[in-house]
């Protein structure tokens, strides 16, 4: 192709050139679409098959064995409870931190850098980092020792609540940065004029949050909510690093059945359950945060 190709299209001649132009984006997108279908579609279909069949016959045996696992209900409870506790806290912190950055305090560039460092820390590493703090002879107990507090076994299997607390703190430390980055990115797209106008007209801080800032952040918050919930669903290495298998989570159980017990169908059943929960959450968020009637397009 030479320059002619470019002009061909405008002149309406050169059918081949025009076809090439139309097909180009599809050809470029095609490999990724194929790859995704293969690497995602195949295992999902095959996983569903594994979870629901045994020797070619449809069966619910694997599901029964999954539910019969003593840690099944605790795992369900912990997984959902973790999401219920972590997500609101993280969003409150992230929005708060983003507002702090928007107030442009001195050193705000440095603050942003430090606050997003955990973004690149894996959940296993985060668990090990907080293990140094929550361990029996860890830094938290050393700190409390100054005040004469007796040694607390934060991660003992008898103390379910402190175990939960430790996992929550570690997860907030690690993953708030993800929400923060998305919220800050969203804030940059929002013109400051609206907020300033509200300020001029005497709106209080909470009024501005409720009626100006948060509604404008809705698209970013929606992305962050879905992404963060899915990632929170998948958290398990934090809990494994902190508590071993004393704090069961659904993903951890899936890993345990697949890797330690060599019972891959039950692992698949756990994974399928996770997929169902993830899908339910995504749909719920999309529905809850859908644009209200008349919000899109000012006309009519």
């Amino acid at each position: 192709m030479t320059t002619a190709a470019v002009f061909d299209v405008e002149a309406g001649t050169g059918r081949r050139a025009r076809w090439g132009r139309l097909a180009a984006p599809y050809l470029l997108v095609l490999p990724s679409a194929l790859f995704v279908t293969l690497v995602f579609g195949w295992p999902i279909v095959s996983g569903l098959g594994d979870a629901f069949t045994d020797g070619g016959a449809l069966t619910l045996t694997h599901w029964r064995r999954m539910v019969a696992d003593q840690q099944f209900w605790p795992a369900v409870r912990n997984t959902l409870l973790l999401i219920a506790v972590i997500i609101p806290l993280q969003f409150a912190f992230a929005v708060g931190m983003a507002l702090l950055l928007q107030a442009r305090p001195r050193l705000s560039g440095l603050y942003f850098y430090i606050w997003v460092v955990p973004l690149a820390v894996s959940d296993l590493a985060a668990g090990l980092v907080w293990l140094s703090i929550f361990a029996d002879r860890g830094y938290l107990n050393s700190f409390l020792d100054w005040f004469g507090v007796d040694l607390v076994e934060w991660l003992s299997y008898q103390n379910t609540n402190t175990m939960f607390l430790a996992v929550v703190v570690a997860e907030i430390w690690r993953a708030t940065s993800l929400v923060l980055v998305i919220v800050v990115a969203g804030m940059q797209l929002v013109p400051r004029d609206y907020d300033e106008a509200a300020q001029v007209f005497g709106a209080s801080f909470w009024q501005r949050m409720r009626h100006v800032v948060l509604p404008q952040l809705k698209p970013s918050l929606q992305v962050a909510l879905i992404l963060r919930t899915i990632l929170a669903l998948q958290t398990f290495a934090v809990a494994q690093a902190l508590t071993g298998e004393n704090f069961p989570l659904l993903v951890g159980k899936s890993y345990q059945w697949t890797v330690r017990l060599y019972d891959q169908p039950v692992g698949s059943a756990f994974a399928t359950l996770l997929l169902a929960i993830a899908t339910a959450f995504s749909i719920a968020y999309l529905w809850l945060l859908r644009p209200a009637r008349g919000e899109r397009g000012g006309g009519r």
Binding site: Y111, R137, N141, A185, I226, L274
Partner: protein
């Protein structure tokens, strides 16, 4: 000019007293903001400091109680002992190889798609982007567990390629989104000018677009690499002997001493500091909320 003398005294008596309350409020607010920012920073930094401290403490110091919060006897013995443990250096190498394979694969597959999304408004583009978002909403377990069986059948189990394939699947949506936002920022005019001056499309891409997009594309690759470096579930399920560093750590959690675990944690945290330092500029435009 008619009254060069200082009229200050006069003026102040005539003007109403200056209301300093807003100024004071403003100052108080600035102090509060600074305090809150420092508190958040302390929460983020303290654990990093403590894991570093732990990794450079002797085994005795790690078992002592109460622990010192200041570096007393700094030693590299814990870290070197960790690195000398069989399998650790190999797992570093495996992690590196898997990361690089993931990087290359996702760039080869994802960057063209990113370019297409950035340059053309084609039918199905929205559908494609929604599809990418949906893929990110899939739990890794759904892929990794069945793949462990499939890979056994096609001889990809326990190989770096198998893990890299899954990691590429995970990284692909982000790769497409970041590269698309990078290509969007390259002015289309320049590309058209190159076409007018006789470049082919490929030539225009190679000589004009690529050089300008390269830093951003590099950033996207680093992101992919870190995603692969950190991923633990798929790596743990799909390998047995040839484990990546996180997979190795996960499988040995229950059998290893605290010193080993802290040194391992430290080893996994350090690359992330470097990563964020490099990526800082691009962190804000890779979440799909910017190009929608």
């Amino acid at each position: 000019m008619t009254r060069p003398a200082s009229p200050v005294g006069n003026a102040t008596t005539r003007l109403p007293p200056v209301d300093l309350a807003p100024l004071r409020r403003h100052r108080r607010r600035r102090v509060l903001v600074q305090v809150a920012a420092l508190a958040a920073t302390a929460f983020m930094v303290t654990p990093l400091y403590l894991i570093t401290l732990s990794a450079f403490s002797t085994r005795d110091a790690l078992n002592s109680f109460p622990k010192s919060f200041l570096p007393r006897d700094v030693t590299t013995s814990t870290v070197t002992r960790f690195l000398d443990t069989t399998g650790v250096l190999e797992s570093f190498r495996t992690s590196l190889i898997v990361g690089l394979q993931t990087l290359v694969l996702s760039l080869v597959i994802g960057a063209p798609a990113g370019y297409a999304v950035a340059r053309w408004v084609f039918r199905g583009r929205d559908l494609y982007q929604i599809g990418l978002l949906l893929i990110r909403a899939l739990p890794i377990a759904v892929l990794a567990v069945p793949l462990s069986v499939i890979f056994l059948e096609i001889n990809l189990y326990d190989t770096t390629y198998g893990v890299a394939l899954v990691h590429t699947g995970l990284a692909l949506p982000t790769t497409v989104l970041i590269t698309a936002s990078v290509f969007v920022s390259v002015p289309h005019d320049l590309e058209e000018a190159a076409l007018l001056f006789g470049c082919t499309r490929a030539g225009a891409f190679r000589r004009v677009v690529l050089p300008m997009a390269l830093p951003g594309v590099a950033a996207s690759s680093i992101f992919t690499f870190v995603l692969s470096w950190n991923e633990v579930f798929a790596a743990g399920v799909l390998t047995l002997r040839d484990r990546t560093l996180p997979a190795l750590m996960l499988s040995q959690l229950s059998q290893s001493g605290l010193d080993y675990r802290f040194a391992g944690g430290f080893a996994m945290v350090v690359p992330s500091l470097v990563f964020i330092a490099i990526m800082r500029r691009y962190l804000l435009n890779m979440w799909g909320s910017t190009i929608r």
